[in-house]
C-alpha cells in the first residue's frame, strides 16, 4: 500500500477506498497500530474501539464489493472527544465520576451520521474534565502531550482531538467548543478546526457543559476534510432543543470557489492587543495573503467575554450541583473549585449576562452588514508548557487557564461560526487565527480557509513525533 493513512486526508482515503486502491480495513489496521505505538508519546486516546472500527471498516469494504455507495467518508478514520456517546462505551467526559455510569446504549447523533457517511470510528479521546478547561491537564487520565512538542499542552478541552489529528492518528476528530475548546487545541496543535454556528450541529448524545454555549465541530488537517465532516453532520435533530430547524447547506461544493466578493477585515482594538506578538503576526500574515487592510472594531468585546464567563460558571455549576454535593472530592481540583463557585453565582449576574448577549448579538449582526469575514487570533499565546500557571498579557501576569479564551469567548458567546486556521512558521510553534463569520456563513469561511490553504499560508502537516 503506497498510501500512508497517517499523512492522508479523509478525502483521499475515501477516494482510495472507493477506487479499491486500498481497503477500509487496511487503513484502519494501520492506524490502530499507530495509535498503539504512539500512545505513550501523546496520551490522546482514552478508549480505542478496535472491534467497532474493524466492523465499520469491513462494512464499508463489503458495501464496495457489493456495488453499493459506502458514503462520502468511506473508510475515513476519525475519533471523538470522550463526551460523545459511542454505543457500548462509557461516556466519561474526562471525569472520574462518570466512570461509574453504564455504557452508552446508542451513538451520539453526530457519530451516527458519520457512520452513515462511511466513516470509521477508532475510539474516544482524552479531554479536560467536563470540558471546563483549556490545557487538558486531566488528573484522572493524564495530560495530553502536544504532538509538536511533548513538553507542551495540546490545549483544551478537546486536547485529545487536537493531538490525534495533529499526530496523524486519524484524519479528523470531533470536539466541542463552549468558550474555545475547538479553537484552542487547533491553535496549539497547528491544525484546522471548525466551530459552526450555535444550533447548526446536533449535540444530542454529547455530555453537556453549558447549554447556552455548547457547540460541536470537527478538527482536520485539510479544509476539504473539515467541510466533508461538517456536511455529513448537518441537519435538524429533535433530540437537541437548540439544534436549528435549518436545512442542510452543503459546503463541499463551495470550498473551491475562491474569495469572490467576500469582504474581509481584521478585528482591531481588544483583539489586536496583548499576548504574544506571534499571534498578531499570524493575523497579519493571513491579512497580507488576502490583501486585507481594513480594520474593524466590535463594541465592548471584553464584556461579551465577561458574559460568556458568567453564563459558563452559572450553568455548569447548576448542571453539576448534585455531583458537587455528593462527590466533590472526585473532581479535578481546579475544575471543582470553578464549578462550586459557579453553583453559587448570583442570578442577577447570570440574567444580566444573558441580556447583554442578546444586545451584543444585535450589535455584531449590524457589523456584518458591511463585512463577511473577520480575522482575530485564536489564542493569546502559542502552546504553553505543561504545568504553566500564568503568562504575560498587556504587561500584566495573568492566570493562564482563565485567560486562554480571551479572544475566543466573545465570539462563541453569540454563537458565530469560526474556522480556526493554523499558521506555522511565525514562531517556533504554530498558532491559530479565527476566521469569523455571520451566523450560517460556514461555507464562506471554508472558502477563505481553502484560499489560505492553497496559497500555503495555512497548512496542517502531520507532526513529526520523533522531534
Amino acid at each position: 500500500m503506497s498510501l500512508d493513512p497517517a499523512a492522508t486526508t479523509a478525502l483521499e482515503i475515501a477516494d482510495a477506498v472507493r477506487s479499491r486502491r486500498t481497503t477500509a480495513r487496511q487503513v484502519t489496521e494501520t492506524l490502530l497500530a499507530r495509535i498503539d505505538h504512539t500512545h505513550s508519546r501523546l496520551n490522546a486516546f482514552t478508549t480505542v474501539t478496535t472491534d467497532r472500527a474493524l466492523a465499520e471498516a469491513d462494512a464499508v469494504d463489503a458495501a464496495i464489493a457489493a456495488g453499493r455507495n459506502p458514503g462520502p467518508l468511506a473508510g475515513a478514520p476519525y475519533a471523538v472527544k470522550n463526551l460523545f456517546d459511542l454505543a457500548g462505551v462509557v461516556t466519561t467526559a474526562g471525569s472520574k465520576i462518570n466512570r461509574d455510569d453504564p455504557p452508552a446504549t446508542r451513538d451520539a447523533t453526530a457519530v451516527a451520521r458519520l457512520r452513515a457517511a462511511g466513516a470509521v470510528c477508532l475510539g474516544a479521546l482524552n479531554m479536560g474534565e467536563y470540558a471546563y478547561d483549556f490545557t487538558n491537564e486531566n488528573s484522572h487520565d493524564g495530560a495530553v502531550l502536544n504532538p509538536r512538542d511533548p513538553t507542551r499542552s495540546a490545549g483544551g478541552s478537546s486536547g485529545g482531538s487536537g493531538a490525534a489529528v495533529g499526530a496523524g492518528l486519524v484524519s479528523f476528530a470531533l470536539g466541542t467548543d463552549t468558550n474555545g475548546s475547538i479553537r484552542v487545541p487547533s491553535s496549539f496543535c497547528g491544525i484546522w478546526g471548525l466551530k459552526p454556528t450555535y444550533g447548526r450541529l446536533s449535540r444530542a448524545g454529547s455530555f453537556p457543559f453549558v447549554d447556552s454555549l455548547d457547540h460541536i465541530g470537527p478538527f482536520a488537517r485539510s479544509v476539504g476534510d473539515l467541510a466533508l465532516a461538517y456536511d455529513a453532520m448537518q441537519g435538524p435533530d429533535p433530540f437537541d432543543h437548540a439544534c436549528a430547524q435549518w436545512a442542510v447547506e452543503e459546503t463541499v461544493p463551495h470550498v473551491e470557489t475562491g474569495l469572490g466578493k467576500l469582504r474581509v477585515a481584521v478585528l482591531g482594538g481588544y483583539f489586536a492587543e496583548g499576548g504574544d506578538p506571534v499571534v498578531h503576526a499570524a493575523v497579519d500574515r493571513i491579512a497580507a495573503a488576502l490583501g486585507v487592510t481594513r480594520r474593524i472594531e466590535l463594541p465592548v468585546p471584553q464584556l461579551a467575554r465577561a458574559a460568556a464567563y458568567l453564563i459558563t460558571a452559572t450553568e455548569s455549576g447548576q448542571f453539576h450541583l448534585e455531583r458537587l454535593r455528593t462527590r466533590a472530592a472526585d473532581f479535578d481540583p481546579p475544575i471543582r473549585d470553578r464549578l462550586l463557585a459557579g453553583a453559587l453565582t448570583p442570578s442577577a449576574w447570570y440574567l444580566r449576562a444573558q441580556k447583554f448577549r442578546a444586545w451584543w448579538r444585535d450589535e455584531v449582526r449590524a457589523v456584518f452588514r458591511d463585512v463577511d469575514v473577520l480575522l482575530a487570533p485564536a489564542t493569546p499565546l502559542a502552546a504553553p508548557v505543561l504545568g504553566q500557571h500564568t503568562f504575560v498579557f498587556n504587561g500584566k501576569e495573568v492566570p493562564l487557564r482563565a485567560s486562554i479564551g480571551l479572544f475566543t469567548q466573545p465570539i462563541s458567546c453569540i454563537g458565530l461560526p469560526v474556522v480556526a486556521a493554523p499558521v506555522h512558521g511565525v514562531g517556533p510553534l504554530p498558532v491559530g487565527v479565527q476566521l469569523i463569520g455571520a451566523p450560517w456563513s460556514e461555507a464562506s469561511l471554508l472558502r477563505v480557509a481553502r484560499v489560505l490553504e492553497k496559497s500555503g499560508v495555512c497548512t496542517a502537516p502531520v507532526a513529526d513525533l520523533a522531534s
Binding site: T197, Y198, G199, D211, S212, H241, A242, A244, V300, Q302, L303, A306, A307, Y309, L310, A313, L321, L324, R325, A328, A329, P333, P334, R336, D337, R338, L340, A341, G342, A343, L344, T345, A348, W349, L351, R352, A353, Q354, K355, F356, R357, A358, W359, R361, P399, A402, I414, G415, L416, P439, W440
Partner: protein, 189 residues
C-alpha cells in the same frame, strides 16, 4: 534640622520602652506612673478612656482592674530627634479580660533636663478586625442554603473563583442596556 535616629539615643529609648513594657507586665503602678510626665499637660488616651493631666492618669492606674495577658510586641518603630524627643509606635497582640485583640500604642517621649526621658503623650487603640470578605460570607451561607457542602480544603479556591467572577462581572453590570432587552437562554444566533 535635628539629628534623626542617632544610634545611642535609639538604644536609650529602646531600653526605656523595654522597661516600660516590663512594668506593664508586672502591673507595677509606681514605675508606670514615673514614666509619665508629672504635669497637667500630659495626655493619655486608652481604648476607652481619655485622660488629661497626671492626676487623671494616676487615678486611672490605681483603679484599673483590666487583666492583660499574652502581651506580645509584634512590631516596634522608634524615631528619635536629637537627644530630646522620640516617638515610639508599636503593634501589640494581647488579651484583655480574656479577649484576644490587636492593639496599637503610640508614645511621645521628651527629655527634661531635671528628670530625664518622660512620656508626654500616649494613645492606645484597638485595631478593628478586617471586615469579613463579602464572598467568604456569601459562599458559606449560599452553599448552606443550597445544601452544598464546602469542604475546608475546597473553600479557599471557591472564594477565589467568586472574587475573580465579581471582578469580571463589575463592568458588565455597570454597562447600560436598552429597556426591553430579554435574556436569551435558548439562543438563536
Amino acid at each position: 534640622m535635628p539629628t534623626v535616629n542617632d544610634p545611642a539615643v535609639l538604644a536609650e529609648i529602646a531600653a526605656l520602652h523595654d522597661a516600660y513594657e516590663q512594668a506593664l507586665a508586672a502591673n507595677d503602678v509606681a514605675t508606670l506612673t514615673r514614666f509619665f510626665w508629672d504635669s497637667p499637660e500630659v495626655t493619655r488616651y486608652g481604648v476607652v478612656e481619655h485622660l488629661y493631666g497626671a492626676e487623671e492618669i494616676n487615678a486611672y492606674r490605681r483603679t484599673n482592674d483590666v487583666v492583660i495577658t499574652d502581651r506580645k510586641l509584634l512590631r516596634r518603630k522608634i524615631v528619635t530627634f536629637d537627644a530630646n524627643c522620640a516617638v515610639v509606635m508599636c503593634e501589640i497582640s494581647q488579651s484583655a479580660r480574656g479577649k484576644p485583640g490587636h492593639c496599637r500604642q503610640s508614645q511621645t517621649w521628651v527629655r527634661f533636663p531635671e528628670t530625664g526621658w518622660r512620656i508626654v503623650a500616649a494613645h492606645v487603640s484597638l485595631a478593628l478586625a478586617a471586615p469579613e470578605n463579602v464572598w467568604t460570607a456569601y459562599a458559606d451561607r449560599t452553599a448552606a442554603a443550597l445544601a452544598l457542602p464546602l469542604a475546608p480544603n475546597h473553600r479557599p479556591g471557591v472564594i477565589q473563583n467568586l472574587e475573580r467572577a465579581a471582578v469580571i462581572a463589575a463592568p458588565l453590570l455597570a454597562h447600560p442596556l436598552p429597556a426591553g432587552i430579554e435574556p436569551a437562554p435558548v439562543f438563536t444566533a
